[in-house]
Every structure is written in structure tokens, then in C-alpha cells.
């Protein structure tokens, strides 16, 4: 057992921390307030090599380990969860095209995506396909050299601001094996953006609906084989879960730091509130939970880098635990600040609003527990 980041990992973390604290954190409050999607930060992120984390250098990527990725997402999440979320989705889609695309597809889209010119979106969920992802009803019917797409996608991160949409649509009735993945570029005729959701938090990351009406997409935009769509979509989940765990850790850490500072500055009954045991115990619990969540995230990332078969279960554990504790920690941070915590002059209410979604997307935390139980109990838990 060796609990120390390598010099290179520390350097990456320190650098991203410096960047995130200087260029992102000071703006996060305004972006939230104004529902502003900060496209202007996409290019600087690309220049640092953060938009092609899963892609090799020859396509403009920086191909880092999952552990380095976790350090990066933790720091960006600490500065602004919205930015970390759309960045994570973008990297996931870029990684999918790199992994499942043919040579032509990779050369066509990946360099623009790693270069900060083309933003990616991941489009799986629908009205009736959330946790039950295989229940996709959007259709793609083959027509000569094209497919005709019809249907509606829900909950798409970066809907309307992205340039490249990875869309899962049904090409046959074969359930989970009847879904295919298509790359749809913005401005394709028949493809439009529906309503933008008005969310509890994550205001700087637009989430919305995609509408496909007789949308003609060339067959050469299909990623992988027909019927492999769900497999392709789900292949990104383990990594995505680690990212969400890391982002949650970052948000929790940010909330903890504000709460700790406030406990030293705010006085009540003639002493700093941090001198009260009731506050001390809350802070101690917060620190303990964050540390435990962080270690789970790092361990899952490490296992994934090592190609361990148990990595999937650990990714589920990391996502579930880190987001659950982040919800607790941010809620407690609001409590430590009292009334100040409930108003927007302090960032903790935003942290609490933002991080709630980490328990919901990338597989709800109920689904994570299901994944863990199935890994532990096998057929018994799978109900077979």
C-alpha cells in the first residue's frame, strides 16, 4: 500500500487547482446567477489539454490515467460543478468517438473536440428511458446510405450549446441489442433543440431536449456496428461514475473549506462558533466523510487504470458514496453558516443545489447500489 500521489500527479493537481481557482471559481457565482454557459472557458481548457483526457496525442489529446482525471475533475468541481459536468460529458463523448470510431470518423471529429472548437454531448435518456436505459424509443430507420432519425431525447447536458451529439436510437426491436449510436452535428436538418430545463442547480450547464423529425443522418456517422449502441453508451459509465465521484468530492471540499473558515470568524455568545463542540463535531464529520469518499474515488480510478475486473463495482461505490456524502457535507455547511448559508452572498447554498444532481445522473444512487449488489451477489441480486 502506498498512499502518495506521484510527482506528476501532484503537479497536474496543483496546476489545475491554480487554473480553476484563478479562472473559474471567481466567475461561478455569476454564471449560476445568469444561467450563463461559459463557452469562453472551453478554449483555455483545451489549451491546457483538459478537453482530450482519453485521447492520444496525435489527435490532440493528453491521454491521462483515470486517476489523473479524478484529480482534475475534483479541482474543477471544487471551483464550479457546472463546468466540471459539461467537461466530463465532453471528454466522455470525445473518448467514445476515439475508441469506437473508424479512422475517418476519428480524424473528422476528434481533433476539433480536443482543440476546444467542437463541444460534445451524450444523448441517451428519454422520457421513458432513464434508469431503464434500454427502453430507448427514438428510432433510426435505414434509408439507402442514410438513417432517418425520429424521437425526442431528454436531459441532454449541453443541449443547444454543443456541436457534436452522440445519439442512441433504436435500429431494431431487439431490446438492448437493437440500439445504435449516431454522431449528429448541430444544424443537421430535422434536428432541433426543445425546451431548456429550469433546474434546481447546475445553472451554468444547460440541460435540454433534442427533437428529431425525419432527421437524415449519413450511415457513415454511425459509431460502431448496428445494435452496439447501448454497449457503446454503457462502456463510458465506469469512467463517468468515477468523474462524478471526483466532482462531488471537490464540491464537498469547497463547502467544507467555507464552513471551516466561517466557524473561525463568526462569533455567537462571545466566542467563535468553532469553539462550540456542536460545530466542531459537524466539521470533524464533514472532513472524515470527504476523506473517505476521496479515497474510494482514487481507489476506483486506480483499479480502472490497472484493468481490474472489480473496477466497475468500485466505480459504482465511489460515485454513490462520494455523492451521498457531498449532499450531507454541503447541507451541513449551510447549517454551519446559519442564515448566511441560506443566502446567495455565500457559495454554500449553490454547492448544495448543484451537488444534489450527483445522486441522480450517471445512474441514480439506487442503481449504483443495484450494481454493487449484483457484483456481490451475482444471480441472486439479478433476480434470476
Amino acid at each position: 500500500m502506498f498512499f502518495r500521489l506521484s510527482d506528476e500527479q501532484q503537479e497536474i493537481r496543483d496546476l489545475v487547482r491554480r487554473f480553476a481557482q484563478n479562472e473559474i471559481a471567481p466567475q461561478a457565482e455569476r454564471w449560476d446567477e445568469e444561467n450563463h454557459f461559459p463557452r469562453e472557458i472551453f478554449k483555455p481548457l483545451a489549451e491546457m489539454g483538459l478537453t482530450g483526457l482519453l485521447v492520444p496525442e496525435e489527435l490532440g489529446g493528453s491521454q491521462l490515467s483515470r486517476l489523473a482525471g479524478a484529480l482534475i475533475y475534483e479541482e474543477i468541481g471544487k471551483a464550479d460543478m457546472s463546468t466540471a459536468v459539461w467537461l466530463s460529458v465532453h471528454n466522455m463523448v470525445t473518448g467514445l468517438i476515439n475508441k469506437f470510431g473508424d479512422e475517418e470518423q476519428r480524424l473528422r471529429w476528434v481533433p476539433g473536440m480536443t482543440g476546444g472548437d467542437l463541444l460534445g454531448a451524450f444523448c441517451l435518456s428519454e422520457a421513458h428511458a432513464g434508469s431503464d436505459a434500454a427502453n430507448v424509443r427514438a428510432t433510426a430507420i435505414r434509408d439507402g446510405d442514410d438513417y432517418i432519425l425520429n424521437g425526442t431525447k431528454f436531459w441532454v447536458t449541453s443541449a443547444g450549446v454543443a456541436d457534436i451529439y452522440a445519439v442512441m436510437a433504436r435500429t431494431s426491436d431487439a431490446g438492448g441489442h437493437g440500439i445504435s449510436t449516431f454522431i449528429v452535428e448541430k444544424d443537421t436538418p430535422g434536428f432541433s433543440i426543445g425546451k431548456r430545463e429550469r433546474k434546481m442547480g447546475l445553472h451554468a450547464s444547460p440541460t435540454g431536449e433534442l427533437i428529431f423529425e425525419q432527421c437524415r443522418v449519413p450511415a457513415k456517422n454511425r459509431l460502431g456496428e448496428e445494435g452496439d449502441g447501448l454497449k457503446i453508451a454503457l462502456s463510458s459509465l465506469d469512467g463517468g461514475r468515477i468523474n462524478i465521484g471526483a466532482i462531488s468530492t471537490g464540491v464537498a471540499q469547497a463547502a467544507f473549506e467555507v464552513a471551516t473558515r466561517y466557524a473561525g470568524e463568526r462569533s455567537a455568545f462571545g466566542q467563535p462558533i468553532g469553539a462550540f463542540e456542536g460545530i466542531q463535531f459537524m466539521l470533524a464529520d464533514m472532513a472524515m466523510k470527504i476523506e473517505a469518499g476521496r479515497l474510494l474515488v482514487y481507489e476506483a480510478a486506480f483499479k480502472m487504470d490497472e484493468g481490474e475486473p472489480a473496477a466497475s463495482m468500485h466505480a459504482a461505490m465511489a460515485k454513490c458514496f462520494a455523492s451521498d456524502i457531498a449532499m450531507q457535507v454541503t447541507t451541513d455547511a449551510v447549517q454551519v453558516l446559519g442564515g448566511a448559508g441560506y443566502v446567495r452572498d455565500w457559495p454554500v447554498e449553490r454547492y448544495m443545489r448543484d451537488v444534489k444532481v450527483a445522486q441522480i445522473f450517471e445512474g441514480t444512487n439506487q442503481i449504483q447500489r443495484l450494481v454493487i449488489a449484483r457484483a456481490l451477489l451475482g444471480e441472486l441480486a439479478a433476480g434470476k
Binding site: D7, E8, E11, I12, L15, R18, F19, P44, E47, M48, G49, L50, L53, E57, S62, L64, A68
Partner: protein
């Protein structure tokens, strides 16, 4: 063009500072960063390299053996190679010793353009660039807020009370830069990984042909006698009421030359 950037390792500005019994700053590896003022020199070196194809950039540092990490941090931003001058005899060097060593190293490496930050964030002496120029017998263009190279001539703008002065010198020349000259880049992930593979040479005093008696604590003419925490005593004055308070505030602002 052979560009050399002189960069110092300093403790991070937020690090807790402490001193040894003989009043030397205790340097901890964890706190070490490239001198923040030198980031502008590094950036300027890289920009001059971009503008003058075929140029090389060398990061030159005199410091403890562990300063290789700090040089690599600079190399993560860009540049071709690093040179560290390190020797146990260098401990306790003052500004003049440092300049003597840097001048010897520059002579050994070769240079057309040498770029410095205008001071170091730890000691704030700001004399090393001019002392190095003196040892080398080469011109120094100091406090540059803009730098241009044309042919074998360097031209700078130096901020003045009103407007700026334009100063030029033939290459090889030394330039010290101020913060307004550029906006230092963030290293990239690729840069961090590439920095580990860039050549980094280490020179001792013997390699530079310097006599240990002429440098380091032995030769230091600067002596630190003591160090104290800066204590900021705020002196507040409160003017109350309608009765002339506004006039007193105005008088105060005039006195402070704000109005």
C-alpha cells in the same frame, strides 16, 4: 537565437517563512515554486522563441540540488532544456555572488538574449540582472514592458512616469521584464509530461571554473542581521455626524493626494 531565462526558486508567497540561526531563509522543497516574477521572463522567452523560429530556450537556475523540480515546472510551460548550478559552497550566496555564478554559467552555455524577472519574491533585491550584465560586460535593458528583436538588436519599452522610454541595445543583451509585459501561460498536460524528458544539466562550481572562496556565504558582503514579521497597525479615524464630517473627509483625501 540562443535565449536563456534566468529563474530563481523561491518559497511560495503564502508559505510560512522561518530562518536558520545564521539568518538564512529555511527552504522547504514542498513550498518551492519558480519565482512568480520570473514567470513573466519565462513567458517572454517562449514568445520570443515563437517569433524567432529556430531559437532555443534554456532555463538557468542557481539553487539547491532539489531545484531541478522547479526547473521542470518552468519547462512544463515550454523551452528546450534546463541548467542547474548547484554546489554546497553556494549556500548563503548574496546577490553579487549569485550574479558572478550566473555570469559564469551564461558564458559556458552561450547566449544571445538573457531574460530575467525584475526581482525575486523572497529577497526583493532586484540587483542581480544589472550585476550579471556588469560581470559579462553586456548591455542590460531593464524594466521592459515590451520587447522586440529585429536583426541583432533588442528594443524595449520602459514604463515612465508619463508614457514610456524606448531603449535599444545590440545583441547579445540582457533584459529584465516587468509584469505588464505579458500574461504567463498555464502549462499544459502535455507540457508537464514532456518536461520530464527534456535535458537538464547540472553544473558545479568546478564545472564553471569558479573558486569556492569567491562565492557563497564565505564571500557574502551582504549580511542579514535579523528578520521580523511585518506588523500592520491600522490607525482608524472616525468622523461622525453632519457637523463638518464631510469637510474633514474631503480635507483628508486632499491631504492624501487622492483628490
Amino acid at each position: 537565437m540562443n535565449i536563456v531565462v534566468c529563474m530563481k526558486e523561491t518559497p511560495s508567497t503564502t508559505a510560512e517563512k522561518s530562518f536558520t540561526a545564521d539568518m538564512r531563509l529555511e527552504r522547504r522543497k514542498e513550498d518551492a515554486i519558480p519565482n512568480p516574477f520570473d514567470e513573466y521572463a519565462i513567458e517572454e522567452g517562449l514568445r520570443q522563441q515563437e517569433k524567432n523560429p529556430g531559437s532555443t530556450v534554456t532555463m538557468l537556475c542557481m539553487g539547491p540540488a532539489t531545484a531541478t523540480d522547479t526547473i521542470r515546472k518552468a519547462l512544463a510551460m515550454g523551452g528546450d532544456r534546463g541548467v542547474l548550478v548547484t554546489d554546497p559552497a553556494l549556500a548563503g550566496s548574496d546577490a553579487i555572488s549569485t550574479a558572478r555564478v550566473l555570469a559564469a554559467a551564461l558564458t559556458k552555455i552561450g547566449y544571445d538574449l538573457v531574460i530575467f524577472g525584475n526581482a525575486a519574491a523572497d529577497a526583493y533585491g532586484g540587483v542581480v540582472p544589472s550585476a550579471v550584465a556588469e560581470f559579462l560586460g553586456k548591455p542590460l535593458l531593464s524594466y521592459a514592458s515590451q520587447l522586440g528583436i529585429a536583426g541583432d538588436k533588442a528594443t524595449i519599452q520602459r514604463q515612465a512616469e508619463i508614457g514610456y522610454n524606448v531603449v535599444e541595445a545590440p545583441l547579445p543583451a540582457l533584459v529584465s521584464v516587468v509584469k505588464s509585459i505579458n500574461e504567463p501561460r498555464y502549462p499544459s498536460m502535455k507540457g508537464i509530461m514532456a518536461s520530464k524528458k527534456k535535458p537538464l544539466d547540472t553544473f558545479s562550481l568546478a564545472d564553471l571554473g569558479l573558486d569556492a572562496a569567491t562565492v557563497g556565504g564565505a564571500a557574502a558582503r551582504e549580511k542579514a542581521l535579523g528578520a521580523e514579521k511585518v506588523s500592520t497597525q491600522r490607525k482608524g479615524e472616525i468622523y461622525v455626524g453632519n457637523d463638518g464630517a464631510a469637510d474633514r473627509v474631503v480635507a483628508f483625501l486632499v491631504e492624501q493626494k487622492v483628490l
